[in-house]
């Protein structure tokens, strides 16, 4: 996977087209895509607004006409409240694309592991034609299983890992993503792609050192 030709430092202007809430604390926005703005699935854009900057991974594929993002609402956050309240048609500045969290084809099975809105880069990958992967999505409750239909159509195995009280549907798993990996993924060499909270990245990486030696690990931390 090579990087796109768009210069990451160039500042682009975009316009808010649509917003919809996916759960009580997460929403999706759709933005206009500037002419000649190119990116690879897994990359981020960086909003620049009144002195603050915030990165979000794109969930849309490079072939889509618009840009889409999945955003967790943080009440005292620097940027998500602005995006949550902005009028449709509002303009924003961003730079990008940023990041190197790209799918690297190999003979080893690909294991995507995410928590919460860390699902975003995998959504862009699935929408750009990447298939046959195993995806673990760790959330508290079933209403946070964003884009499940996309992954059911593209993944070889899609496992919803619910850590809260609600019981998972058929094919799901009750517990953390690390519990699933420790109990159900056979020892061997894999290509792991981890995106989510620092705690998950740490726990899964240490588990890989113990149980899946010889694997590759690519990480993207969501703060």
């Amino acid at each position: 996977m090579s990087l796109p030709k768009t210069t990451p430092s160039s500042i682009q202007v975009t316009e808010l087209l649509k917003r919809g809430w996916l759960s009580k604390n997460t929403f999706e926005i759709e933005l206009t895509r500037p002419a000649q703005f190119d990116f690879a699935p897994g990359q981020r854009i960086r909003f620049i607004h009144q002195g603050s900057q915030r990165d979000y991974s794109l969930i849309s594929g490079p072939d889509n006409e618009t840009l889409s993002l999945c955003i967790r609402y943080v009440e005292r956050g620097a940027f998500s409240p602005i995006l949550a309240a902005a009028r449709i048609g509002s303009q924003f500045h961003f730079s990008g694309p940023h990041g190197y969290f790209l799918f690297q084809p190999s003979k080893r099975p690909a294991i995507f592991v995410s928590t919460g809105t860390g699902i975003a880069p995998f959504c862009a990958m699935a929408r750009s034609g990447i298939t046959g992967f195993t995806l673990l999505h760790g959330v508290r409750s079933a209403d946070e299983l964003y884009y499940a239909a996309v992954f059911r159509a593209t993944a070889k195995l899609y496992v919803a890992c619910l850590s809260g009280a609600s019981k998972p549907a058929a094919g799901g798993f009750q517990g953390w993503v690390t519990d699933y990996l420790a109990k159900h993924l056979p020892p061997g060499s894999y290509d792991f792609y981890l995106c989510g909270r620092t705690e998950m990245i740490r726990d899964v990486t240490l588990l890989i050192d113990d149980r899946f030696q010889g694997s590759l690990v690519y990480t993207e931390i969501f703060y």
Partner: protein, 189 residues
């Protein structure tokens, strides 16, 4: 915002190409030296005497290239991740050579061994030079694994770049003293 994960607490680290390796691995030593060199160059840029503060731009350009060198060293040669990394070229070496020639033209010929020291910027340039030499030694060990091909060629380019960079830092150390009106400190046996 946490910048730490703790996934390296047990002495392992991840290469850019995804492999988990021991922190004592020679590839980690090599890009760690390049990282250290970059840090010392940053300190040197802040200590440059006012008359030559324009050299800051030159040093920052070299620092940016060292980022590419570090990323390349942190990537195993058969990895697809290599496709996203910029490689050092002959042009980067020529850039350093031309900076050496420019400063050298203003310096008196060197007839003795000199001691590192003098102006703080000169002392820092000597520290950077020695770290650069250590990076060069570690990279030359890595190169032994590759006897031919594109990877071997890139190792040779990186080694030439580091070799020339250490020469640059030696000349810059003398130049910093010269600009401040300080003479070379000659080694007395």
């Amino acid at each position: 915002m946490k910048i730490y994960t703790g996934s390296g607490d047990r002495g392992m680290t991840s290469l850019f190409s995804g492999e988990r390796v021991k922190k004592s691995y020679e590839r980690v030593e090599a890009y760690g030296d390049v990282d250290e060199l970059n840090s010392v160059l940053g300190a040197l840029a802040t200590a440059l005497p006012a008359p030559i503060s324009g050299i800051t731009d030159e040093i920052q350009r070299i620092q940016s290239e060292l980022f590419h060198v570090g990323a390349w060293l942190a990537t195993t040669p058969d990895s697809p991740s290599l496709a996203v990394i910029k490689k050092i070229s002959a042009q980067n070496i020529e850039y350093v050579e031309s900076a050496i020639d420019r400063m050298q033209a203003e310096l008196p010929p060197l007839q003795d061994f000199i001691l590192p020291g003098g102006h703080p910027s000169s002392a820092l340039a000597h520290i950077a030079r020695t770290v650069c030499r250590r990076a060069e030694r570690h990279v030359s060990v890595l190169r032994l694994e590759y006897s031919a091909g594109e990877v071997r060629k890139q190792f040779e380019t990186v080694l030439s770049f580091l070799n020339r960079l250490s020469d640059y830092l030696f000349v810059l150390a003398r130049y910093c003293n010269r600009i401040q009106g300080l003479k070379d400190i000659v080694w007395r046996r």
